[in-house]
Symmetry: C2
Subunit: 334 residues, 2 copies
């Protein structure tokens, strides 16, 4: 009915959407839609708020054939930890694709973003890592370090992993949790180069502003997913590594040029070849890894189609399970 809005909380959403094969399929389908061009995705609205050490990003995408489209608002306020609050928050709003009416407000505090971001990493590993992944190394000690390793393990069930973070304590804590969650040995390391040498898959999830991943670590049969850089000024991978890889893939070229590893490589003088987007590799429109010995890099900045896809999926599952509270906008709350 017109004017009916379903409010869903983070608690609701985390019971009905998890980081699992279903989530990976939802995000894989979103990248396919992006490649097939059946989307409208305007540039990100970005508001810098240096006076409060904050920023706000708004992303959206309209996918033809979907019942709804989402708008996501992601505030990042980096003084929050001093107040005992998380830096990242926000919500998603799901609109009816035919009428533009608000269908649902998803008060997820960034939870669905975490899931869709990690799921994209899983999709990248599925399509770009070598056929056999025995060992993976993750860079970073935060939420995405954990979730990216889990998502990659769904796609490529490796039997061992390393984790490196600037703060070793954090890496060690994450390693312990991940060992328990994945039932494989996950080891915190002081020597990321040696960890990468053992790995067929590396995932970078840090907010680094100068490279933490060295070109000299590249070796045949390595795939790297770089998802930390999502803003101007961030950079995890040495530009020379992009230049030396057999294949560089972006989630969305127009975004990676501004926000991803691609930006730094272009600034360093790289004359990038014809760059495939991840979705084009999924659909077969462009070639991906040609042999198990290739070195591949996937640059993920996060796209509005992922948000629309995960929000539409979450709404469908939540309402089928009768979750959420419905408001009639023409009715008072009291």
């Amino acid at each position: 009915m017109a004017g009916n809005v379903t409010i869903l909380t983070k608690a609701d959403l985390s019971t009905c959407v998890g980081l699992n094969e279903t989530a990976l399929t939802v995000i894989e389908d979103a990248f396919e839609a992006l490649a097939n061009g059946k989307i409208v995705m305007p540039p990100i609205l970005s508001m810098d708020l240096p006076m409060v050490n904050g920023e706000v990003d708004v992303k959206t995408a309209y996918i033809e054939g979907f019942d709804g489209f989402a708008i996501k608002v992601s505030p990042g306020f980096f003084n929050n930890p001093q107040l005992g609050l998380p830096s990242l928050n926000g919500l998603m709003i799901l609109f009816d694709a035919k009428t533009g009416l608000v269908k649902s407000v998803l008060l997820d505090n960034g939870y669905l973003t975490d899931v869709r971001t990690a799921a994209a990493g899983g999709v990248a590993a599925k399509h770009l890592a070598p056929s056999q992944v025995n060992c993976a190394t993750v860079f970073g000690g935060g939420v995405q370090a954990r979730m990216q390793l889990k998502a990659a393990h769904i796609a490529k069930p490796f039997s061992k992993a390393f984790i490196w973070a600037r703060n070793f304590e954090k890496a060690d804590q994450a390693a312990k949790e991940l060992s328990a969650d994945l039932s494989i040995p996950v080891v915190a390391t002081h020597d990321p180069g040696r960890a990468v040498a053992e790995s067929q898959l590396a995932i970078t999830t840090t907010p680094a502003t100068s490279p933490i991943f060295k070109k000299e670590w590249l070796h045949p049969g390595l795939h790297i997913t770089a998802m930390g850089s999502d803003q101007e000024g961030k950079n995890e991978i040495e530009a020379e590594a992009l230049m030396a890889a057999d294949l560089y893939v972006s989630d969305r070229i127009s975004q990676c040029e501004k926000l991803g590893e691609l930006r730094s490589a272009l600034n360093a003088g790289w004359t990038a070849p014809d760059i495939p987007e991840l979705g084009q590799i999924i659909t077969g429109q462009k070639s991906g890894r040609m042999s198990d010995d290739d070195v591949t890099i996937c640059d993920l900045t996060g796209t509005g189609v992922q948000d629309t896809a995960i929000a539409a999926h979450a709404f469908k599952v939540a309402t089928s399970e009768d979750m959420g509270q419905i408001f009639e906008t023409d009715g008072t709350t009291k």
Copy 2:
């Protein structure tokens, strides 16, 4: 407390925010803040959806010194009337200015936009119309035609008004309602030129894409507020009228160049002089009307500061009246 989000419906909001002197003051203050430069206001995020005859705009502004900032999402889906639904909908989200946490979701279906848009017209009339306004003419037969005339009447309590619309029936209906609401004669007219000749104030509120207001109608002591053009392709006032006026004022130059009457005039070759913004006239930073005989034009495209100001005001009033329903995002809805 962190994670507490207050949901307010249109019904809640329309009981605690009205188009009155308070609303005009709230919007006047917002224009002052804009002029004083204590704001961050990124360009509008705009998504065109021709396949469903729709569009979505996202506006925001951060005003230093305010407790919160709003993000507004305004979908316009122009096939909706065929389904018995309004074309314009949407919501506002209010965030804490220090932490970025979601404070409130205002499910207003565009109501607060209607109020803040009309209030801006009232503020323009207050600062730019001649000292004495006896008669006003409004162009258009929709919601804003009604609300703009009411807002102008708050600022300049004229004793007579005309209304013209392409569809005379609509104009006549609006005239009857406005006569009753304002307790003055409001007359629907077939001859807008004659109505303007009698008026000291004209307000255009149409979605016209070619001018409906002629340069030849300008006469000493006339102020025009043009608020219909808020998108590329819209145009209500002949470019020659802007060129001939003693003073042209914009709400935000960078927006009017793209979306307002200014765009058409620049395209027609106007070498615009140093253009004042409405806020700069309110603060006295730039000169406004110099004499009661001047011809003045104010071009309103709608700004994010108006949204932040009205949302913050609405939240304050609503919570002081104990309205809304509070959600803890970490709690389930059921």
